[in-house]
C-alpha cells in the first residue's frame, strides 16, 4: 500500500549553527548542512556530538525540516526538548557555534502510492518531524490531517504551522490548555471516522505509538511509527537500540537507528519491548 522509502547514505560533518529559536517549550536549532539537507527525507534523523560535558555518546534527533536553497545553502532543523545533560548542552549552542552532525540516518516515512488521506498523530516533540512529513505529503497533493497532543499548550509543537499544513487539525492537552483535554488516543477513533484516513503516521512516546497502532490495527488502516530506544552509536554498530519486529516469518530485533526509526507499527511486537522473558542473551555482563 505504501511504497518503501529508504534515505540515502549518511555523512558526517562539523556544521555551523545558523539560528537558535524557542518554539513553545522547545528549542529549534537550524544547522548549516547543505549535503545532508539535500538527501534527508522526513522521518530520518541526525545524531549530534555533545562535547564539553562529561558525556560520551551522540544524541539522536528527528529532522524537523530542511531548507535546500536560500542564501545559506541547505540547512536542517532540529527541535529539541531539554531532558538531560546532552540536550542541555545543545540548548546552549547559539549562532556560529559548531556541532558535529551525522546524518541522515535511518528509514524515512514511506509516502503512499495511492491518493489517500494521511493522518499525522504526534506527541510532544514527535509532532516536529511529522510537520516535515506533512509538507512533503502536501507536495504530493495528498490530504493531510493532524492530531497532536502534549501535556500542555506549550508542549504542543507549533500548532499554528500544524493548522496551516493540515486540512483538519485537532489538538489534545492533558491539562486542557489547548484543544481537547486528554490524550491523542482518546480522540483517535473519532478523528479517523471523520477524516477517513488511509494511512496513519505516528511519532511520540512509545506508549502512545503502541496505542495508536492498536486503533489502526482494529480499523485495518496502515500505520507507520517512528520509534525511540536508547542509542549508543546511532549508526548501526552497537546493537543497543533494538525493537522486536516481525519480518516475513521471523521475529527479529531490528536496530531502531538504521532499520528504523520508522517502522511498520503492526510489525512491532509492542508487548515484547523491554520484556525480560524474551531474552536469549547470556547472563548479565555479556556484551
Amino acid at each position: 500500500m505504501v511504497s518503501d522509502a529508504r534515505g540515502q547514505e549518511p555523512l558526517q560533518s562539523t556544521c555551523e549553527v545558523l539560528a537558535h529559536r524557542h518554539v513553545g517549550a522547545y528549542h529549534l536549532l537550524t544547522i548549516v548542512a547543505p549535503e545532508m539537507a539535500a538527501r534527508t527525507a522526513p522521518g530520518q534523523m541526525v545524531s549530534l556530538g555533545v562535547g564539553g560535558s562529561g558525556t560520551l555518546l551522540r544524541r539522536p534527533f528527528s529532522v524537523a525540516g530542511v531548507s535546500r536553497h536560500g542564501p545559506w545553502a541547505g540547512t536542517i532543523d532540529i527541535v529539541l526538548e531539554v531532558v538531560g545533560e546532552g540536550t542541555a548542552w545543545l540548548a546552549r549552542r547559539s549562532k556560529h557555534d559548531a556541532v558535529d552532525v551525522v546524518g541522515p540516518l535511518g528509514r524515512a516515512f514511506p509516502v503512499p502510492a495511492q491518493p489517500v488521506t494521511c493522518l499525522l498523530v504526534g506527541g510532544g516533540y514527535g509532532a516536529a518531524p511529522l510537520l516535515f512529513l506533512g509538507e512533503r505529503l502536501r507536495q504530493e497533493n495528498l490530504r493531510v490531517d493532524v492530531l497532536f497532543g502534549a501535556a500542555n499548550a506549550d508542549r504542543v509543537y507549533n500548532s499554528i504551522e500544524a493548522k496551516r499544513t493540515a486540512t483538519a487539525a485537532m489538538f489534545t492537552t492533558e491539562d486542557g490548555s489547548l484543544g481537547h483535554k486528554g490524550r491523542v488516543t482518546d480522540r483517535l477513533d473519532d478523528v479517523l471516522d471523520r477524516s477517513g484516513a488511509g494511512v496513519v503516521y505516528a511519532c511520540g512516546p512509545m506508549g502512545m505509538l503502541a496505542a495508536v497502532t492498536q486503533v489502526a490495527r482494529a480499523r485495518r488502516v496502515p500505520v507507520q511509527v517512528s520509534v525511540e530506544e536508547d542509542m549508543a552509536c546511532t549508526t548501526g554498530v552497537c546493537m543497543t537500540c533494538v525493537i522486536p519486529y516481525r519480518t516475513r516469518d521471523e521475529v527479529r530485533n531490528v536496530r531502531a537507528c538504521i532499520e528504523g526509526p520508522v517502522l511498520d507499527g503492526k510489525r512491532v511486537m509492542w508487548d515484547r519491548i523491554r520484556d525480560p522473558s524474551m531474552s536469549d542473551g547470556g547472563p548479565g555482563g555479556e556484551t
Binding site: G49, G54, L57, D100, A232, T235, T240, G284, G285
Partner: protein, 299 residues
C-alpha cells in the same frame, strides 16, 4: 606492524561488537584502510540477545548488555564474511561459546574460511562450570583455546576479561594451549541501579563497562602480559580514543590496537587514528611504531 604472523599496514583494528558487520561504518570511510576488522562475536545459533535498555552512560564510560545478539556463525559466513573479503578488508572472526564443545564446533565452521585470524572471545560464561567465565580460570582457558587452535590454520587470539587476579597467568595458559596471541581487554563487569525506582538500568541487570574510564585498567593488563612474555602478540583495547592512547598501548606492549566505544561517539574514530598515527610518529622522529612496543621505563 607485525601481529604475530600477520603483517598489518596499520596497527589500528576494530574491537569486536563495536563495528557490526563492517558495512555500517564503510558508509563513513573506506574500512579497507584499517589493519583488520574484528567482527562481532558469533555463536553457533543465532541469538536475539537481552531486552532493552541495553546501554547506559557512566562517567566517561558506558555499560552495555547486548547479550551477544548475532545472526549465528552460518549467517556470518554466508553474508558478512564474503562482503568483507570483497571489500578488501582483512577479516578477523570472533567466536563465543557456552561450552568447550561449542568452541570446537565454531572452529570447525571457520576451518578453511578466508579469514586472517580468529579471536576467541572466552570472556563468556561456561555453562558447564556454574557460569564461571572461561577466561577466569587457566584450565578452562586452555581447554577452550586448545579446541580452537587444534582445528585452525590461522592465528588464534584469546580475548580475555580483566576481571581476574592475574591476567598474565591466563594469557600464558592461552599461549600454552596454542593461542598465537591475546586480545586485552574485554569489558569490566559493572552495574547501574536507578536510585529512585530501584530498577537496574540495564535490561540484563549487569553489563560490561567500556570507554575511557577503563583505559588505565587496559594499560596495566597489557603491560602485565607483555612483561610475562614479551614475544606474545597482543591486541590492545579499552578506552582508546586518541593517537596518544594508541602509543601508550603500544608502549605497554600492544602489537595492534583496537577501537571500540570511541566509534560510537565518532563513526570515523578508527580512521582518524589510521591517518594521524604516521604523522605523530614522524613529528617525533620515530621511524616505526613497532620500535616503541614495550618501550616503558619506571615500571
Amino acid at each position: 606492524m607485525r601481529l604475530g604472523r600477520l603483517e598489518l599496514p596499520t596497527p589500528i583494528v576494530t574491537a569486536s561488537g563495536c563495528f557490526a558487520s563492517g558495512r555500517e561504518i564503510d558508509r563513513f570511510f573506506d574500512i579497507s584502510r584499517l589493519g583488520a576488522v574484528v567482527a562481532k562475536s558469533v555463536t553457533l545459533e543465532p541469538r536475539s540477545g537481552l531486552p532493552t535498555p541495553r546501554m547506559v552512560e557512566t562517567e566517561r564510560g558506558m555499560l552495555n548488555a547486548i547479550g551477544l545478539q548475532n545472526p549465528g556463525v552460518d549467517a556470518w559466513l554466508a553474508d558478512d564474511l564474503p562482503w568483507l573479503v570483497d571489500r578488501g578488508v582483512r577479516p578477523i572472526a570472533s567466536i563465543a561459546g557456552s561450552t568447550v564443545r561449542e568452541y570446537r564446533q565454531l572452529a570447525e565452521k571457520l576451518r578453511g574460511q578466508p579469514i586472517a585470524a580468529v579471536e576467541a572471545n572466552i570472556s563468556c560464561p561456561n555453562v558447564e562450570d556454574r557460569g564461571t567465565i572461561f577466561a577466569c580460570r587457566p584450565e578452562a582457558t586452555a581447554e577452550a583455546i586448545g579446541q580452537v587452535t587444534r582445528l585452525l590454520g590461522v592465528p588464534v587470539f584469546a580475548k580475555l576479561t580483566p576481571d581476574v587476579g592475574d591476567i598474565a597467568e591466563i594469557a600464558l595458559a592461552a599461549r600454552d594451549a596454542g593461542a598465537a596471541g591475546v586480545s586485552l581487554i574485554n569489558t569490566l563487569l559493572g552495574m547501574a541501579i536507578d536510585p529512585e525506582t530501584g530498577e537496574t538500568v540495564l535490561g540484563g541487570g549487569t553489563g560490561g563497562l567500556s570507554g575511557p574510564a577503563i583505559k588505565p585498567v587496559a594499560v596495566a593488563a597489557i603491560h602485565s602480559v607483555h612483561r610475562a612474555d614479551p614475544d606474545l602478540p597482543v591486541i590492545g583495547m579499552g578506552g582508546v580514543r586518541t593517537v596518544e592512547d594508541v602509543v601508550e598501548f603500544v608502549r605497554a606492549g600492544a602489537s595492534a590496537v583496537a577501537v571500540g566505544t570511541a566509534t560510537f561517539a565518532d563513526p570515523a574514530a578508527a580512521f582518524r587514528l589510521v591517518e594521524q598515527l604516521p604523522r605523530w610518529l614522524a613529528d617525533r622522529g620515530h621511524a616505526r611504531l613497532c620500535d616503541l612496543r614495550g618501550q616503558v621505563s619506571g615500571a
